[in-house]
Symmetry: C2
């Protein structure tokens, strides 16, 4: 935990927070914090700064906080992601939050197994918890938005063109396509397929909606690796 994230409900007044539960345990057992210590803190969706521990026991911590730093900039990105296998999905949410993805759209694909949509990891509180883990890691406070689109064709035909909005839009897909660009400095919509890739029909539909296909080389990456690799290369 590189940043202690504060919920609105932690605040007892604008300069003081009271913490219990996971964050208290972490402060005591992992960070070995003592009364008087200073910690990096950030208010979820708000500013970051320092918190000084005024009281600390097994039941609660009381911190005086001063919030005066803006969180790091997000990537200018909308990430369209075929719904990943649940176990990988949690880690991908964390990676995305860490890397600064502001908006994730989870999309169906023929190669997304129906059971993936049943995972409890899609419950809003579990999504939020994993995004918070990623934000804590990166020292960011602003939660990405996550949208679920279970119907590929209506989403790609009716909504995707407005999201792309005539700006750069790429679909990562193995094949005889141009290499993925590097170090772009402009808004982007990026589509990443499921394990096994989009089917050709899906690639065609994404291209029709305004996306350009690009490839990352002959090595086949797991989705989790591809997400990080593409974002690191693109931005």
């Amino acid at each position: 935990m590189n940043l202690l994230l504060l919920e609105d409900s932690d605040f007892i007044d604008p300069q003081h927070v009271r913490l219990t539960g996971r964050r208290l345990t972490h402060m005591q057992d992992i960070q070995h914090v003592s009364s008087g210590d200073s910690l990096r803190v950030g208010r979820i969706n708000g500013l970051m700064g320092q918190g000084q521990v005024l009281e600390l026991d097994r039941d609660h911590a009381l911190l005086a906080v001063e919030l005066n730093e803006t969180p790091p900039a997000k990537l200018p990105l909308t990430l369209l992601l075929a719904m990943p296998r649940p176990k990988m999905f949690r880690r991908i949410l964390q990676h995305c939050a860490t890397l600064g993805v502001p908006e994730i759209i989870l999309l169906n694909s023929v190669r997304v197994e129906k059971s993936f949509w049943q995972t409890p990891f899609l419950q809003p509180e579990v999504i939020r918890e994993n995004l918070l883990l990623g934000l804590e890691q990166a020292r960011d406070t602003v939660l990405p938005t996550v949208r679920i689109e279970k119907r590929f064709k209506p989403f790609v035909e009716d909504q995707l063109p407005a999201i792309i909005n005539d700006q750069l839009a790429l679909v990562a897909h193995p094949g005889d396509y141009p290499a993925c660009p590097r170090g772009i400095d402009q808004p982007l919509t990026l589509a990443i397929g499921p394990e096994g890739g989009w089917i050709p029909y899906e690639v065609d539909k994404l291209i029709e909606a305004g996306m350009q296909p690009v490839q990352l080389g002959e090595r086949i990456l797991r989705v989790e690796t591809a997400v990080t690799a593409l974002l690191a290369r693109l931005f």
Copy 2:
């Protein structure tokens, strides 16, 4: 499994292999392979090609193989990695094999917990197993080498300069350093620190040995994410 990897001991003659165990189970239960099917195969540290299933039952599979493709090129890289937390270490081995790292040196650092060196995941057969998982994913056959260097100072002083050999060498470290370069096309030695980073003494020693410090931005990445992000950006 995008590639069925064959051990030397699987070969009953140069054109035929007999498989049992994990790979047989995977072929039957996950890939639903039938007699007569063709699969992508590769001989560990050798060529890749096609295998045709001649016999298949619960006990064994017999394949006729034709190996005539060279595996994909490796990155021109020596990766110096502070020994990661064991759970993450396994995944990092897989990522490295998938991404084409040919040589990994596991190094001590003040921030590497002593217990990390005790993990059973450092046993040669477990390292090999995880590297094979990464190779199967990427469709590569050539096992990376993994070396263990538990003494930071003698390694960095006495051995590292010869490894760098006056070529490009970078140490990734947060701080007021130049941004990590992109799309380099030359041999590289890259050092990636532990969670929490190298200590200043270690950065100084790595610089003395010929490494240039570079940074990846203000977001703090987990080691696992940093490995993939750095390689994707550099190559």
